[in-house]
């Protein structure tokens, strides 16, 4: 079913009886051309672009839970292309362009809002680093404006500008950055993939991967065996477990990243804002809740709930930057499982098994990558060759040390990102 103004009017006048489910609920067939393990944002986008860009429509997306129930519905919804290093820079630039046309592309309202993103700086050194980053963003063809203190004040009057330890010196403004409705991104890709004939199979857990003579043959699931000679593992958060089913080792350690949301408030925060001196970032949802988060809990975990010391740190950082935050009541908090790689950048690559591909290692930044990740993973699986903007994101970079993408410059080691 297509969505348009005429349809809304017609259904409104006829009792809304004509709406159909947004996607079918098919029984799994015994074989497919391609199986995608994981019905999150990345898996759904991969299936969609395989069908749309490469004409492969005989695809099953296997989801253990339900569509939109994993990290795609558990993040802080930020969309941006402010990366610095070659590899990440062109990839996220490509992704942002896909975001800007996503609603038309999918015929679904993902509530993408280019409200602008401001990364604050608080020292001269940080200003230099942000100026350099801004130049890299402009060279990539994206937008960046270096704001001084008064420039920031015009946008963000509610900050504590004169905080003694962390005075605001300015900010790097990325006007095309913003947010999107995360669930709607999953539903939009699911809807669009389904319309192209992709089978979205929920409540179907993969329990084994069938490999013979170094080639993938299909998967075992809780709903029977399904054959395909191309299988994509797109299960960030559980990559280690699924890869192990095929004997594939991955350079991933799972960590928890927390997020918080307050009660609904009147519109106050018009942008996405990040604090430069404590790990804290803030935006306001369309419902009015202030959405904010901080750093990892910093030890391997699959708990999907955060620990109190990091919660305390995030609240302290938030109060340092926006003292008014103290008046708001936190409604809920949650934690998502992050696939952390040693250099903090993702992997879209072949594995040692023929026909088995992986899209993983999204660290704390998978949401903004959803469209380009699907685009590049689809290209890799259809052509058996990496896409131009994701060709640096290999498994091998860790073994060789060549082409590491350590945006933070802290070193390529598990506990540093």
């Amino acid at each position: 079913m297509g969505y348009n103004a005429f349809q809304v009017l017609k259904e409104g006048l006829t009792g809304n009886k004509g709406w159909r489910p947004v996607w079918r609920d098919p029984e799994p067939k015994s074989d497919y051309d391609v199986i995608i393990i994981g019905g999150g944002g990345h898996g759904l986008a991969t299936a969609y672009y395989l069908a749309k860009n490469h004409g492969i429509t005989n695809i099953a997306v296997l989801e253990r839970g339900y569509i939109g129930g994993g990290n795609v519905g558990r993040n802080t919804t930020i969309v941006r292309a402010n990366y610095f290093l070659p590899g990440n820079s062109e990839f996220y630039s490509h992704s942002l362009k896909l975001w800007e046309n996503m609603e038309q592309e999918l015929n679904f309202n993902t509530m993408h809002s280019a409200r602008g993103l401001i990364n604050l700086f608080h020292t001269d050194g940080q200003r230099d680093a942000f100026a350099r980053r801004g130049n890299m963003m402009c060279n990539q063809g994206d937008d960046a404006i270096l704001l001084d203190r008064d420039g920031v004040r015009k946008h963000l009057p509610y900050l504590d500008f004169d905080n003694h330890r962390f005075p605001v010196y300015g900010g790097l403004y990325h006007p095309r950055g913003g947010t999107a409705r995360h669930d709607a991104v999953a539903w939009g890709y699911a809807h669009a993939a389904d319309r192209l004939g992709v089978d979205l199979i929920q409540q179907c857990e993969v329990t084994g991967i069938d490999v013979r003579d170094g080639k993938v043959q299909g998967v075992e699931t809780t709903r029977g065996a399904i054959r395909a000679n191309r299988v994509g593992i797109v299960v960030a958060g559980r990559s280690s477990q699924v890869a192990a089913m095929a004997g594939v080792d991955v350079p991933i350690e799972s960590h928890i990243l927390q997020a918080f949301v307050t009660e609904g408030l009147k519109p106050t925060v018009d942008h996405v804002v990040s604090f430069g001196m404590g790990h804290f970032y803030l935006s306001q949802s369309d419902k009015g809740g202030l959405v904010f988060g901080g750093d990892l809990d910093f030890y391997a975990s699959y708990a999907q709930r955060g620990n109190l010391p990091m919660m305390e740190h995030v609240m302290e950082a938030g109060m340092s930057l926006v003292p008014a935050l103290g008046k708001a009541k936190v409604l809920r908090s949650w934690g998502g499982i992050m696939d952390m790689t040693p250099d903090g950048s993702f992997i879209i690559d072949r594995t040692k098994v023929d026909g088995l591909y992986m899209d993983c290692g999204w660290c704390y930044g998978g949401f903004k990558a959803v469209p380009a990740s699907g685009w590049c993973m689809a290209h890799l699986m259809a052509e058996d060759a990496p896409h131009e903007v994701a060709k640096k994101h290999t498994f091998d970079r860790f073994r060789t040390g060549h082409g590491l993408m350590d945006e933070e410059g802290t070193g390529s080691q598990h506990n540093l990102h």
């Binding site: 080792d249 040693p342 080691q413």
Partner: protein
């Protein structure tokens, strides 16, 4: 989360620094490049019982091997790394 340090007793997680999997105790031989790659990067990363290295940074400064459940955060045992590495 609280960790029961064998020397200092039960202490808050904030006193400890997390290094990573206890595989770090099994350093490969010099020149074994494949072994070094695995040692530095490849992780078993279990969604269950795991052993990892913690440093009691704000306490006795001991390195500890903590056996715990990565899904429930239950801690099963805490041993001095010097004893494990013997």
């Amino acid at each position: 989360m609280r960790i029961n340090c064998p020397i200092c007793g039960d202490r808050d997680r904030r006193e400890f620094y997390y290094l990573g999997a206890a595989d770090y105790l099994n350093r490969p031989a010099e020149g074994d490049l494949d072994g070094i790659h695995k040692y530095l990067h490849i992780r078993e990363n279990p969604a269950g019982v795991t052993k990892d290295l913690w440093h009691h940074e704000s306490g006795c400064s001991s390195w500890l091997v903590v056996e715990r459940n990565a899904t429930t955060h239950e801690i099963h045992s805490v041993t001095l790394a010097s004893e494990v590495a013997k």
